[in-house]
Symmetry: C2
């Protein structure tokens, strides 16, 4: 089992060097061995762990959920109820955002198609943005829609 520097680990997983150090700082990754001069040295387990983290982040799991998942992984004898619950929670979150984004899409599309060009004074996009009362939907989707899951 060969040890690799942080750059190799980064290359192997697609996670940036600075992000790896960040994950260590928030205790998502264990502190690795160090070379005599202080450089981090990782084994294959780190590749596994980091791949797991990355996949979960890609799926929008918040770091707090990933932390839970990792702590559950340590004793394989337990029931996976909690794991599945975390995943379902995440699925619920994704579906909630989907619903909101669909509402946003509809409103934006409506706004844009209503505008037939011309001057600012008569632009229906600006008019629609200025007068929320004309919206057919009660509660706005936006507020939660475009955040809270991971970004590029």
């Amino acid at each position: 089992m060969s040890l690799m520097t942080i750059g190799k680990l980064s290359g192997a997983t697609g996670v940036k060097v600075t992000t790896i150090r960040y994950y260590e700082s928030i205790d998502l990754l264990d502190e690795p061995e160090r070379s005599a001069s202080g450089q981090r040295l990782y084994g294959d387990a780190a590749v596994e762990r980091l791949g797991f983290i990355r996949h979960a982040r890609d799926l929008g799991f918040p770091v707090s959920a990933i932390r839970e998942l990792i702590s559950l992984q340590v004793d394989p004898g337990r029931d996976c109820d909690l794991v599945d619950q975390i995943a379902r929670r995440q699925l619920g979150e994704v579906r909630r955002r989907l619903t909101q984004l669909e509402a946003l899409e509809a409103e934006l599309k409506r706004m844009i198609t209503a505008c037939e060009g011309g001057k600012i004074a008569s632009c229906s996009v600006l008019a629609a943005l200025g007068h929320h009362e004309q919206c057919l939907h009660e509660e706005h989707a936006g507020k939660e829609v475009l955040a809270a899951l991971p970004s590029k």
Copy 2:
């Protein structure tokens, strides 16, 4: 035309007091008049402006775009090309996220339905998270999916 304190403006628009002060600090809102003792006093124009900002934020427009829209509003004689372009850009953004979220939803659903309970050691959710190679999709949606638009 009656002047109102920041609390009244907040009540009239549904934007929190602290958020109003924040918008002022980033120059989205003009500095209002002050009372003798230094309290902010707003007129009806502030209600309009803040309502506009709120609606745009609800639709996921970033603050930078709102700033552009506001600056375009000042001369009503101009063509609304730029306004419409900003709105279409936002619609594109929303659609991009929709696509990504749909991919996430599919993968999460697949993961969850594959798990039939049991022990951690055999949980397919954890297995799927650990082995991205088994994913059918090349590039992951997640990274940009759950952010960049406004959150609650």
